[in-house]
Structures are given as structure tokens and as C-alpha cells.
């Protein structure tokens, strides 16, 4: 083998200094940025490859629902809340690459076939919370709106100061991806995204846009609030 000693020390030294550089709460060398992006892309490929609509999340029966210990989270300064007038005017629009754009009132949404599921909420920070969510599977809405099969992406938009996150359509149409309007048997409170939010155990918490206004089927991905900050776009669980 022609891996001589000098090479070894040179490469070993570079690698070691990278490691030492790491030992001080650093983000790592800037040159690594490209490599990390490449790895993220490859990881997304792997994650999408193993993704199955038949893989379901079920909260363990011995784990209690988080109830009001479920962290409330939004990016506005105060809880985004609709008053009675705004609530009456609120519509959930399903648009983009669809044959029949929809504009649903909360009543319209509640009249559709609902699904209730007791699932985990997986936060990117590492915690989980169990809740019982009730809502309409997005796949039903996609069928209702006759979404174009060529639409590979779905953007979930909100009235929470521009917060949005776009998803791959496979995750969006997973049977456990719901447009939720009730949590733990009660109408969804403003602290948790009223009047409606997307919730799915197959995506990390930050992908699950609250305070929904628009669901847009798209040919391309459209980033997202935390994605644009540097978190993984895929954010799959």
C-alpha cells in the first residue's frame, strides 16, 4: 500500500484538529457546510425511500395525554386569536394544483368525515407529548379538491405572522396527517392553533403548521419558517 507515513500524519492531523475545533461549542468549519447539506439531501432520499403509508404511530397506552402540559408554541408576540367576526370570516383554502379549489368554513370542515387518533407529537427538541387529535385526513381533502397527482409538494400557511412549512405530498397524504380542529375531545384552543392546524406524527412538530389559512398543492417545495432558519426541510419522523 502506498499510504505513507507523511500522508497519514497530514490527514490524521487535519481530522484531529477538526475534532479539537469541535470541542468548544462551535458550529464546525465553514467548509463542512457543503458536506452537511449533501448529507441532508442524501438522508432525505433515504427517509423518503423507507416512508410507508402503512407505518402508523400509536401512543403507548401507559403514557398519559400531556393535556395542558402540551407546550403551546407560535411565532407571533401573543397567541394568535380570532375574534368572533374574524372566526366567521375564516376560511381554509385548498388551492394550487387542484381541479376544484376549496374554501371551507370551520362548519364545512366539521361536517366532513372525521378521524380521531391518539398519537405522539415529536418535537425536534427531543420531547414528545401525547394527545388525542380529531380532524379531517388531508388525503380526503386532496381527493375532494381533486389535487393534481403531479403536485409533489404541499405548503401549509397560517395567520401566525407568516409561519408556514411545505411538505412532500407523500407525508401530507399519510393516513395520520389530519387537519385538526379538536384536541383531547374539546374544540382546539387558540394556544394550540385554533381554528385548525395540521398535525401528523410523521413530521416533527415544527412542520405541523398551526392557525391554518391555506393549503397549497405545488410542483416545487416552498421552504418554511424553521426550514429557512436552517432546520431540515424534510423533518420526518
Amino acid at each position: 500500500m502506498t499510504f505513507d507515513r507523511r500522508d497519514f500524519i497530514r490527514y490524521g492531523g487535519t481530522a484531529l484538529s477538526a475534532a479539537l475545533f469541535g470541542a468548544c461549542d462551535s458550529q464546525g468549519p465553514e467548509k463542512a457546510e457543503k458536506l452537511l447539506r449533501y448529507a441532508e439531501k442524501k438522508n432525505e432520499g433515504v427517509e423518503r425511500l423507507i416512508f410507508r403509508h402503512t407505518s402508523m404511530d400509536h401512543a403507548k397506552s401507559n403514557v398519559r395525554a400531556a393535556g395542558d402540559q402540551f407546550p403551546s408554541y407560535f411565532v407571533s408576540d401573543v397567541v394568535p386569536t380570532l375574534d368572533a367576526g374574524a372566526m366567521a370570516a375564516w376560511r381554509l383554502e385548498i388551492s394550487g394544483m387542484v381541479q376544484k379549489p376549496l374554501s371551507l368554513t370551520l362548519d364545512d370542515l366539521m361536517k366532513l368525515d372525521r378521524q380521531t387518533q391518539r398519537v405522539n407529537h415529536y418535537c425536534v427538541e427531543g420531547w414528545t407529548a401525547v394527545a388525542e387529535f380529531t380532524g379531517v385526513p388531508l388525503r380526503s381533502l386532496a381527493i375532494l379538491a381533486q389535487a393534481d397527482p403531479k403536485a409533489g409538494y404541499v405548503d401549509f400557511q397560517s395567520f401566525d405572522n407568516g409561519y408556514h412549512e411545505s411538505w412532500d405530498v407523500e407525508s401530507a397524504t399519510h393516513p395520520q396527517t389530519l387537519i385538526v380542529y379538536a384536541k383531547d375531545g374539546a374544540v382546539l384552543p387558540p394556544a394550540y392553533g385554533a381554528p385548525a392546524r395540521v398535525h401528523s406524527p410523521v413530521k416533527l412538530g415544527y412542520k405541523n403548521t398551526k392557525y391554518l389559512t391555506k393549503i397549497v398543492f405545488m410542483p416545487e417545495r416552498n421552504g418554511g419558517y424553521w426550514t429557512d432558519e436552517g432546520y431540515e426541510w424534510y423533518g420526518g419522523v
Partner: protein, 256 residues
């Protein structure tokens, strides 16, 4: 160099790649852990972690922030796994695994090493390329790594691999096992590094260039931690403290 090296170049390269990858995995993992440094699900409790809610000091972490640490962790995991597979594949095909698998007599040999290190016996046991303590550590390392990978998969994809996550007791427990496996690796690695510097610093050479001299082996030097770091032909007692010198001198006279 290849043929007479103490460690094959593949072993040497994978060793150092592993050292770097493992360091980055542990440090970025600790930064990820700091995103929520507790194991209890929200609204629940967790029985078995005494430091719930306490962050790991930032100086021990890597990645800068949660997203950065996650990018590093999910990139470096492939380096760790591929490098580990190259190492394991190599020692399987090349026969080095024979130096590492446990066999009858290892417990006796372990006991012999403990007795030597605690000054109950005088002479370094001769147990082949690795002594029984080393063998145990080097054999355990890949298995703990497997636990790291399996528990890691369970918390990376708890929905896709939900049967696995459930077997491990659910997400919170799987995360806990992943954490404990990390602690085990850190303890083993720290002991390993301690022993390298305290007993056999010459192994740094054999793990980089492959060069090795029997004269400098722990057996020849009769080396215990911090004892007989220098070869016995040189003035070894000069580097050790006074009360220690007595013991060393006594032993030296016995050897010579």
C-alpha cells in the same frame, strides 16, 4: 511497512476515523440532548434519570445550535457506520477477530491483570497481543456501537420503525437507551485513552505508523498505570515519585 506493522493499516485508519467520528457524534448528540435535556414525556415523569432538566455544559457540545448539531449528527452517523463496517469486515476477513473474541480463560486472565495492577502480583502477565482487560474492552466496543445504532434508528424514525421503538419501551425509553449507550462508549473510550497514556504510550506509535518494539511493551517494562513508563534498560525510577521508587527498584532488581 504493512507486513511488519503491529496493526494493519486498515485498522489504523479506521481507528482514527472512528476516534474523530465518535467525538463528533458524542458532542453533537449532547447538543441535541440539550434541546430538551430530560426523558419524561410532557405531562409525565421518568423514573430513571437523576439529572432531568439539567443541560450538558455547552463546552462539551458541538454543532453550535440544535439544527447545526442535528446536521452534524445525521451526517457523521454514516461515517461512523461505514467506517465501523469496514473495520469489522476487515478483522473478520483478515483474522484479527481471533485476538478479540472472548474464550475460556479470559476471566482468569482478567483476574490476573487486576491482581497485577493492584500490586498483588509482581510480574506483568503475558496474555498475547492484548491482555484480557483490553480484549474485553475492544470486544465490547462494537457491540455497544450496535446498540447505539439500533437505538439511534428507533429515535430517528420512531414511526417507520415503530415495532423496534416499541420493543425498546417507546420513544422516551429508546432515547434513554441511546443516551446510556453513549455513556458506555464514553466510559470505555476514556478508560482506553487513560490506559494509553498511563501504561502504554508507545501504542500511539503502533496505532499511527504501525511501528512497534517488543522492548517497549508493557510486559517488558512491567508497566502498571504510571509505573515504568520508560523502558527498564533506561533509568526508569528517576521519573517516578520517591515512595514509588522503592517499589520500582525492588521490582527492577527482581527482574534483572
Amino acid at each position: 511497512m504493512g507486513e511488519h506493522a503491529r496493526h494493519h493499516w486498515i485498522v489504523r485508519v479506521t481507528h482514527w476515523v472512528n476516534a474523530v467520528a465518535l467525538t463528533l457524534m458524542v458532542a453533537s448528540g449532547l447538543r441535541i440532548f440539550n434541546g430538551s435535556p430530560e426523558f419524561a414525556p410532557k405531562g409525565g415523569t421518568f423514573c430513571c434519570y437523576p439529572f432531568e432538566g439539567r443541560s450538558i455544559p455547552a463546552s462539551l457540545t458541538f454543532g453550535g445550535w440544535l439544527a447545526g448539531a442535528r446536521h452534524w449528527h445525521f451526517a457523521m452517523m454514516w461515517v461512523l457506520v461505514v467506517n465501523g463496517l469496514i473495520y469489522l469486515g476487515f478483522i473478520y476477513l483478515h483474522g484479527e477477530w481471533r485476538d478479540l473474541v472472548p474464550r475460556r480463560g479470559d476471566l482468569r486472565d482478567t483476574w490476573a491483570m487486576i491482581k497485577f495492577y493492584t500490586f498483588i502480583t509482581k510480574n506483568h502477565p503475558r496474555q498475547g497481543k492484548h491482555n484480557a482487560l483490553q480484549k474485553g474492552a475492544y470486544f465490547a466496543m462494537p457491540w455497544i456501537a450496535v446498540v447505539c445504532v439500533v437505538t439511534g434508528l428507533a429515535i430517528w424514525k420512531p414511526v417507520e420503525f415503530s415495532p423496534l421503538t416499541n420493543v425498546l419501551g417507546g420513544y422516551a425509553w429508546a432515547r434513554y437507551w441511546h443516551f446510556l449507550a453513549m455513556v458506555a462508549i464514553v466510559v470505555l473510550a476514556a478508560s482506553h485513552i487513560f490506559m494509553v497514556f498511563a501504561v502504554d504510550p508507545y501504542s500511539l506509535r503502533s496505532m499511527t505508523t504501525g511501528g512497534y518494539s517488543e522492548r517497549l511493551s508493557p510486559e517488558e517494562r512491567n508497566a502498571r498505570p504510571f509505573y515504568h513508563l520508560l523502558p527498564q534498560a533506561a533509568a526508569a525510577p528517576a521519573v517516578v515519585a520517591a515512595p514509588v521508587a522503592e517499589v520500582s527498584a525492588a521490582e527492577k532488581s527482581e527482574i534483572t
